[in-house]
Symmetry: C2
Subunit: 154 residues, 2 copies
């Protein structure tokens, strides 16, 4: 993976949150996604501090998105957890690598940074939700349409 595990957990949790203002429990999210509960809670706290989530304590409390899911970009989440300089520096760690002294992978890596940064800025949590919904839908279909054959001979 390109990012830390915490960032991956955060994105999966955000994608699992409902779009309406319903509060969700960190515990439920962790069991639903098979993620370590207390660690996920700690990560969600970080997202609250980054104004990506809102939390309410007490009964009927929990976490919810601070904004509509299509207004939260993947890049925001990455920046909140990985820091804004996530993709900086030479690919290979050469301290002398720069625009003046480019390493052989410098240009390719530069294109990568542009591409990934652009994609992260465009992609939103809403997109992740749709992906997950699509996955669940297909799982249902395959469950109903017929059992998974070990040898798809047809």
């Amino acid at each position: 993976m390109l990012f830390s595990t915490a960032t991956g957990y955060a994105l999966r949790a955000l994608a699992a949150l409902p779009e309406d203002g319903t509060f969700c429990l960190a515990k439920d999210l962790s069991s639903q996604l098979d993620l370590p509960g207390p660690y996920l809670a700690k990560i969600l706290q970080g997202l609250v501090q980054a104004s990506i989530l809102e939390s309410v304590r007490g009964p009927k409390g929990g976490f919810r998105l601070a904004r509509p899911s299509h207004r939260i970009t993947v890049g925001e989440v990455v920046a909140a957890l990985e820091g804004p300089q996530a993709l900086e520096g030479c690919v290979m760690g050469f301290p002398t690598c720069s625009g003046d002294h480019p390493c052989p992978l410098h240009d390719a890596w530069d294109a990568v940074k542009t591409q990934v940064t652009s994609s992260m800025t465009e992609a939103t949590i809403r997109d992740l939700q749709l992906m997950d919904l699509r996955h669940q839908k297909e799982a249902e279909v395959s469950r109903g349409a017929g059992k998974k054959r070990p040898s798809p001979a047809g």
Copy 2:
């Protein structure tokens, strides 16, 4: 950086090795490159096991390239230290992400993998050596043009 620090150290050490069959000491490499000596030695051992370096023990021993520098690709080194699956998996760590269920960054990441893999396969240690030589050359020039005084009082 995209890879581990060990991989970065390995690449820097390989770029510092001479192209002829001379044996170099891990100690000299570490002091020349300002890298932790015993750790670098351990990394070099891994490169020996990957048949990228050759080592000889005892006096007049040391490490040297197992092949001409232009025959060792950056990809080989990365694969030897990071494993062959270094760039596999979803960018964001989504376990359900695949060609069938692509995440929003799937295509971009796929292009990245292709691009970086290709560059790593083409770039060789020889290219890294040339980059470093170029850097040293320019450092010399700048040293001649205006010397760096310890106390630039005037």
